[in-house]
C-alpha cells in the first residue's frame, strides 16, 4: 500500500450504497489527517508528544504502536480535541481542530468513529439502541436513524443480536456493537484504541478482520495496539511512538523494529 489512496472505484460505490450516502469523490486522495510539528506538554510539565509529523491519506490503514506511556493515548485525545496541542497543528479533514470554536467541536467528532478497549456501551440499552444512541444525541432526523442503524448492524453481523443488551453478548459481539456505533455516522476516520485488548486471540482476529473490511469499504482506520502478532502478520503501515516521538513510520512494517 502506498501513501495515496488506492481505493478501487467499485469498493467506493459499494460503500456509498452501504452507508446510504454519496460523498464528493473529488477530494478522494487528500489526507484525512495531518499532524504538523505537534508537541503536547501537560500542565504538570510532562511532555507527552514531541515534534510529531504524521500524514494519513484517505483509505489508509495505520497501526499505532509503542509501549505504554509512549503518547498513543495523548495522540488520540488530540485528534478528538479532548486535549489541545501545546504547539503545532492537527488538521482533520481540512480543519485545524485546535483553532475550532467550541461549537464546532461536536461536528468534527462526528467525522471520527472511536472504538475503545472497554467498549463503552450503555449497559441498559440494547445493541440497536446503543448504535442508534450515537445518531439520536447528535440530532439526526428520526426518519434516517432506523435504516442507518440496520445497515451498520448488518455490516458488523449483529442483526440477530439487535435486541440483546451488552451483558448478554460475548466480548467480540460487544466490540462489534461499538464498531457499529462508530460507523453509524459515516465517519472519515475510525480510531480504534486497543480494540482487542480485552479479547482472546481468536476473537481478536475477528475484530481485526472486521476493521480490515471496513477499511476496504473506504474508511480510514487508525488502530493503536500492543498486539504484535497482528501487526506483524498484516504488513500494513506501522507508526511507532516512543517517549512522545515517532521513531518509525513504515509501510509493511512489523510490530518490532527489524534491523
Amino acid at each position: 500500500m502506498t501513501l495515496t489512496s488506492t481505493e478501487p472505484a467499485a469498493a467506493r460505490s459499494f460503500r456509498e450504497r452501504l452507508l446510504g450516502r454519496g460523498r464528493d469523490v473529488a477530494g478522494a486522495d487528500r489526507a484525512v489527517l495531518v499532524l504538523h510539528d505537534v508537541t503536547k506538554t501537560y500542565p504538570n510539565g510532562k511532555t507527552a508528544l514531541r515534534d510529531v509529523e504524521l500524514v494519513i491519506p484517505e483509505g489508509d490503514f495505520v497501526f499505532l504502536v509503542g509501549p505504554s506511556g509512549a503518547g498513543k493515548s495523548t495522540l488520540i485525545k488530540l485528534l478528538i480535541r479532548d486535549e489541545i496541542a501545546t504547539s503545532g497543528s492537527v488538521v482533520l479533514d481540512g480543519q485545524d481542530v485546535a483553532r475550532l470554536p467550541r461549537r464546532q467541536v461536536p461536528k468534527v467528532r462526528r467525522k471520527i468513529g472511536i472504538v475503545f478497549q472497554d467498549f463503552k456501551l450503555l449497559p441498559t440499552k440494547t445493541v440497536w439502541e446503543n448504535v442508534a444512541f450515537a445518531l439520536e444525541v447528535t440530532g439526526s432526523p428520526r426518519r434516517g436513524i432506523r435504516p442507518a442503524v440496520d445497515r451498520v448492524l448488518a455490516l458488523v453481523g449483529l442483526t440477530a443480536q439487535r435486541s440483546q443488551i451488552p451483558s448478554q453478548l460475548s466480548g467480540g459481539e460487544q466490540q462489534r456493537t461499538a464498531i457499529a456505533r462508530a460507523l453509524v455516522h459515516d465517519p472519515r476516520l475510525i480510531i480504534a484504541d486497543e480494540p482487542t485488548g480485552n479479547l482472546d486471540p481468536l476473537i481478536s482476529w475477528e475484530i481485526i478482520q472486521l476493521l480490515l473490511r471496513i477499511n476496504e469499504l473506504g474508511v480510514t482506520v487508525l488502530m493503536a495496539t500492543h498486539n504484535a502478532e497482528v501487526v506483524t502478520a498484516l504488513r500494513k503501515r506501522v507508526v511507532a511512538l516512543e517517549e512522545g516521538r515517532i521513531i518509525r513510520d513504515e509501510v509493511g512494517g512489523s510490530y518490532h523494529r527489524v534491523d
Binding site: I80, R81, D82, R102, R103, V105, P106, K107, V108, R109, R110, I112, I114, K120, L122, T124, F133, A134, E136, V137, T138, G139, P141, R142, R181, H185
Partner: protein
C-alpha cells in the same frame, strides 16, 4: 427545535426512571429541603403578621379638654386626619370612654365604682393610628396643648413606640436573614445531590461527547430531569403540607388566638414558593452539575 425539545424531554423521562434510585434520592432530598423552606417561610409569615399587629397597637392618644366644644373637636379631628403620618383617627366620646371603663371592670369581675360618681370624669379622646410607629413622637409633639387648644394632654407613648420599633425591626431583619441562609444551604445540598445523580451517568455523558453530541444535547436532558425532580418534589411537599394543614392550622390558630392573623393569601403564596423553589433549584442544580462534563 421541536424535535430537540421532544428528544430532551424523552431522554429526561427515561433518565429519571432508568436511574430510579438516584432520582428518588434526589427527589427525597428535594422534598425535605422544600419542607424546611416552606416551614420557615410559614413561621416567617406568622412572625411578620404578628409584628404588623403589634405595631398597629402603637397609637397616639390625645385627651381633650372637658369643655371643648363640638366644633373644636371636629376641627381637631380634621387636622389630625390631614397629617401625613396618620393612618386614621377615632373619636372616643366621654360616654364611650365611661362605657369602656365599666366594661373592663366587669370583665375583671370588679365592682363598678362609677355609680358612686355624680358626673362622668372621663375626657373625650382621639385614638390615632400611625402609618409607622416610629413617627409617634412627631405626631405627639404636634398635638401638645401649646399647639392645639382643645387638647388637655397627649399620652406619652414615645418610649413604648421606640422599643416596639427596635424589637420589630430586629425580628424582621433576623427572619429575613435566617430565611436567606436556609435558602443558600438548601441550594448547596440540592446541587450536591443532583451532582451525584449526574456523576452516576458520567459514562453516558462521556459516550455522548465522543460520538459528537453538542453541549445542548448533553445539557438539556439533564436540566429537564432536574426540573422533573423539582416538580415531583414540589408536588409531594405540597401534598404533605396539605395533609398536615388541618392539625397544624388548628394549632397555629390556638397559638395565635390573641392575634387576628390573616392567612388568606398564605396558601397561594406557599404554592408559588414551593413550585418556584423546586423548579428553580432543580434546574440550577443540574445546570451547574452537568457543566463539568462539557467541552473544555
Amino acid at each position: 427545535m421541536i424535535s430537540f425539545v421532544v428528544f430532551s424531554l424523552r431522554r429526561a423521562w427515561q433518565g429519571f426512571w432508568r436511574n430510579a434510585l438516584m432520582s428518588l434520592a434526589a427527589t427525597a432530598t428535594m422534598v425535605l429541603m422544600l419542607v424546611l423552606l416552606a416551614g420557615f417561610w410559614i413561621i416567617q409569615t406568622g412572625l411578620l403578621s404578628a409584628l404588623d399587629f403589634t405595631e398597629s397597637k402603637v397609637e397616639v392618644v390625645a385627651n381633650l379638654k372637658v369643655d371643648a366644644t363640638p366644633s373644636q373637636i371636629a376641627d381637631l379631628g380634621a387636622r389630625i386626619k390631614a397629617m401625613p403620618q396618620v393612618a386614621g383617627a377615632t373619636l372616643i366620646t366621654r360616654e364611650e370612654a365611661l362605657a369602656r371603663f365599666q366594661q373592663s371592670m366587669a370583665n375583671q369581675g370588679r365592682e363598678d365604682l362609677t355609680k358612686y360618681l355624680d358626673s362622668n370624669p372621663f375626657p373625650a379622646s382621639y385614638e390615632i393610628r400611625l402609618t409607622d410607629p416610629g413617627l409617634a413622637s412627631t405626631v405627639a409633639d404636634a398635638l401638645q396643648p401649646t399647639n392645639q387648644p382643645a387638647v388637655r394632654n397627649v399620652l406619652d407613648t414615645k418610649e413604648t413606640a421606640k422599643n416596639v420599633k427596635t424589637v420589630t425591626d430586629i425580628m424582621r431583619t433576623a427572619g429575613t436573614v435566617i430565611l436567606l441562609v436556609i435558602g443558600v444551604i438548601v441550594l448547596f445540598i440540592i446541587v450536591n445531590t443532583i451532582r451525584l445523580a449526574v456523576f452516576a451517568r458520567s459514562e453516558e455523558i462521556e459516550i455522548m461527547r465522543l460520538v459528537g453530541a453538542s453541549d445542548a444535547f448533553i445539557r438539556w436532558p439533564f436540566v429537564f430531569e432536574g426540573a422533573m425532580v423539582g416538580l415531583f418534589g414540589a408536588l409531594i411537599t405540597l401534598g404533605a403540607l396539605y395533609a398536615l394543614a388541618n392539625p397544624i392550622g388548628g394549632f397555629m390558630v390556638d397559638f395565635f388566638r390573641v392575634l387576628p392573623l390573616s392567612f388568606g393569601s398564605l396558601t397561594r403564596d406557599l404554592v408559588l414558593l414551593v413550585f418556584g423553589a423546586g423548579l428553580g433549584l432543580g434546574v440550577i442544580g443540574s445546570w451547574l452539575s452537568v457543566r463539568t462534563y462539557l467541552i473544555k
